[in-house]
Amino acid sequence: MSERKSIQSEAEEGGKVREELQDIRKVKAPWYFDAELQRRLADAHGGRAGAGFFVRPIPAYALSFVSVVALGIVGYYALLRPSDQGDTTLPASDSIAVGTQDRKEERPQRFERRLQPILPPTQETSTPSLNQPRQGPSAPSNDQVIESGAMEKPAALDDNSGGQNIQQPPQDNPIPMGAQQVIETSRSALDTLRSIPAPKDTVDSTHVRPDSLGGRR
């Protein structure tokens, strides 16, 4: 009987201790626990270990900064760069050579040019224009005409149309795209005119004046 009582009191005491131990405040991990664990994992298993576990939220100011930079880049290419390609890329010598009348005709082309992708001058010269009338495969190209000295008729036509002379730019200088288009269009138009046989009873508009060839006789 006394033994049972002692067991019972012991259980009660044990219950008290248990209650006290359960009631003491629960200790929690410190706030820097995750960062410390990530650092330890990286130290123990190389730089990438644990890096994917503790993904930190990206701060709002970083996102706004990135968006501002992205907007700036997009805005620069969308707004500023095409206007740079316009009038300012035309060298002064080109505009002098083309003349005021041709420049008026060129304005719509400039507008179209803004929508076209920028290509290097070498590619531009070798690529035929879409507006250019297609000639047969045996027809000489514009460059061949120039090289073979067949500039007589275009030069004469220019002379008759007001003395405006289309100059061939030097090969080492890159030709602006607008000027190149004007030149090519003019050449194709001249080639078309040249292919039409002139009637004999009218004035030969393709008559070559020696002085228009720059002194060549």
Binding site: E10, E13, G14, K16, V17, R18, E20, L21, Q22, I24, R25, K26, V27, K28, A29, P30, F33, D34, E36, L37, R40, L41, A44, H45, A49, G50, G52, F53, F54, V55, R56, P57
Partner: protein
């Protein structure tokens, strides 16, 4: 936990998994499962380790090292035991090692105190700045922790696992590697010793 907010979108289905399923996911290299396990067990493990070791800095170190071991040895876990048992076993073994080292350190420092060198071997930490002292701000909590610290390691281990962590006898037996009878015996002895030490608290 600062990471749970960032991961909640990504790991929504994982949160419903059990610990054993999560460690299985982690064994299949699902990194989010490990984060969830850390989130579930860092607080209980810190509580257990602090009550067992009684030192805040060492407790943190042990819990961190426990999770590093889990990370490293994730493939050695077999689903025959509960994950919590495996985790507490790792933490208990690490804590025992720390306690052994501490005893050796004390022994060495006591031995060297008889030498002629007046310089102390270790700096005495500022008691006010210690986090564990701040944690036990209440007199009662401090008394209980001191009573726990004064128990022998084997009794303290058993009673903390049972009464603080509220694990079952079977889990404690699996963690400590003892049979259930021995576990119960140790728990009872620990309780009676604590009862004796904390008598004045209940008298008040």
């Amino acid at each position: 936990m600062s990471v749970t907010g960032g991961l909640s979108r990504k790991t929504a289905p994982l949160q419903e998994l059990s610990d054993e399923e999560l460690i299985g996911e982690f064994q299949r290299e699902n990194e989010a499962a490990f984060t969830l396990l850390v989130g579930r067990y860092k607080d209980p493990l810190t509580n257990f380790t602090f009550r067992y070791i009684g030192d805040w800095d060492e407790c943190n170190d042990v819990v961190q090292e426990t999770f590093v071991r889990v990370f490293r040895s994730r493939h050695s876990y077999k689903p025959v035991a509960k994950f919590s048992t495996w985790l507490y076993t790792i933490a208990t073994n690490l804590a025992k090692t720390r306690l052994r080292r501490r005893k050796i350190r004390r022994f060495v420092s006591l031995g060297s105190s008889h030498s002629e060198d007046p310089e102390p071997l270790f700096d005495i930490p500022d008691e006010e700045a210690r986090a564990d002292r701040q944690l036990e701000s209440s007199m009662k909590g401090e008394r209980i922790q001191k009573a726990l610290d004064s128990l022998s390691d084997k009794y303290r281990e058993a009673v903390v696992l049972r009464d603080v962590q509220e694990l079952s006898y079977e889990e404690i037996a699996a963690i400590t590697g003892l049979n259930i009878g021995t576990v119960k015996s140790r728990i009872n002895r620990a309780r009676s010793q604590l009862q004796e030490m904390l008598k004045d608290i209940w008298d008040d």
